[in-house]
Symmetry: C2
Subunit: 210 residues, 2 copies
DNA sequence: TTCGGAACGGACCGGATCAGTCCGGTCCAC
DNA sequence: GTGGACCGGACTGATCCGGTCCGTTCCGAA
């Protein structure tokens, strides 16, 4: 009778519902305060700490889950942009907005706070590769300056998304304001050489290895 | 015999030297880790905690001092740019680099961690006014897009300067890379409307009031 | 209706961290 | 030589947080 996917009821259903609540709450809480305590997650989810720890036996486990889900969301945005065969710049722009809204900034700031595990590293690599593919496509269509790497983009988006000033909605507004600014500088028409070597994949992925 | 500026000797001289060391160390340490413990500052300064606390009776006092000095440095950069009557854009660009190197990012991230005091608020206001003056001058010379406020600049610089990835020198390199990118988007030639209302003085200065 | 037990919530525990204190030692001035 | 200012860093008391434990609640079967 276990794992059959049959209708759940009673406590079973509540458990399932709590599970989703917890992950959502964790994403929101850690996005606002990367070093938030577990009790904050529990409170936000409207759940006791006991229930929280029954599902995720350790804080690392929960952070791991949140990061992995975030990366999958970003990958989905990238794949969607790659599948889109309209204007390459517009696809790219949409991707960047999606990237920003996925709370990408969170993950990079979370990266140091727990021990990553190999699957997270793999996910980070794949995410990076997808973004680089998208960049190459857009650049070779002549719509994106060609001295920018996927790592550059990740850092820029992470920094912009990390801005925390006021209420969340106002912050989101500012994030998009500054993303729009950066996007203008990413067009090739504005190109003038940038100082220093670009960020590399290794510089970022090192954060996802113990 | 006190305060005459006469040559100091012995322990007196050591005390004076330690005083400078401590402030420098504090700036560096808090720049790297805004929530660093006092012991880290003492260690970096090569000084015992006792000496540290004899000079600054509380952590807040030290943070206060660091922030105030940082603001004065930024004000000096702004005044220098305003006094410079060469190419307005080049003055502006130099100012932005100086702003970034002053560890401007630090202060905003430090802003929440202690109780500010009225003189810091005054310094923040003056800093903001100076930057706005510089912006107005550059924009009315037609060299800067006119939908950007001083608060926008402060946030952008703070975010860029807040990037912490690798060794300090490499980080500085990346900071300047991304500042260069943003500077391109700030030129009026690249202007396309930005979404959302700009950041306001109040949004930033609220951080400097209890 | 009753009963067994699964899931719940939150009080609680042990360890770590850190701001701030205290004291024994050091080095200078006289 | 000696008094005392200044030094460093061990120490303290409070706070915070990850993780555990247990009394309570509610479901479903008999």
């Amino acid at each position: 009778m276990e794992g059959t996917g049959a209708a759940l009821s009673g406590r079973r259903r509540e458990a399932r519902r709590n599970d989703a609540l917890v992950v959502d709450a964790a994403r929101e809480v850690f996005a606002a305060h990367p070093d938030a305590p577990m009790s904050a997650v529990a409170e936000r989810a409207g759940v006791g700490q006991g229930s929280l720890y029954r599902r995720y036996r350790t804080k690392d486990e929960l952070l791991h889950r949140v990061c992995l889900e975030g990366m999958h969301a970003i990958q989905a945005h990238a794949r969607q942009a790659l599948a889109d065969d309209g204007d390459p710049w517009e696809s790219f722009e949409r991707f960047m907005r999606g990237y920003l809204d996925s709370g990408a900034g969170v993950q990079l700031s979370l990266a140091g706070t727990f021990t990553p595990g190999p699957d997270l590293f793999a996910a980070a690599s794949e995410t990076h590769a997808l973004i680089q593919t998208l960049i190459d496509r857009t650049a070779s269509a002549g719509r994106l300056r060609d001295d920018i790497t996927a790592a550059d983009l990740s850092l820029l988006v992470a920094q912009i998304g990390g801005l925390r000033l006021n209420a969340p909605e106002r912050d989101r507004e500012l994030h998009h304001r500054y993303l729009a600014l950066v996007l203008q500088a990413l067009r090739p028409s504005a190109a003038a050489p940038l100082p220093g070597p670009p960020a590399t994949a290794a510089e970022i992925e090192d954060r996802w290895t113990p």
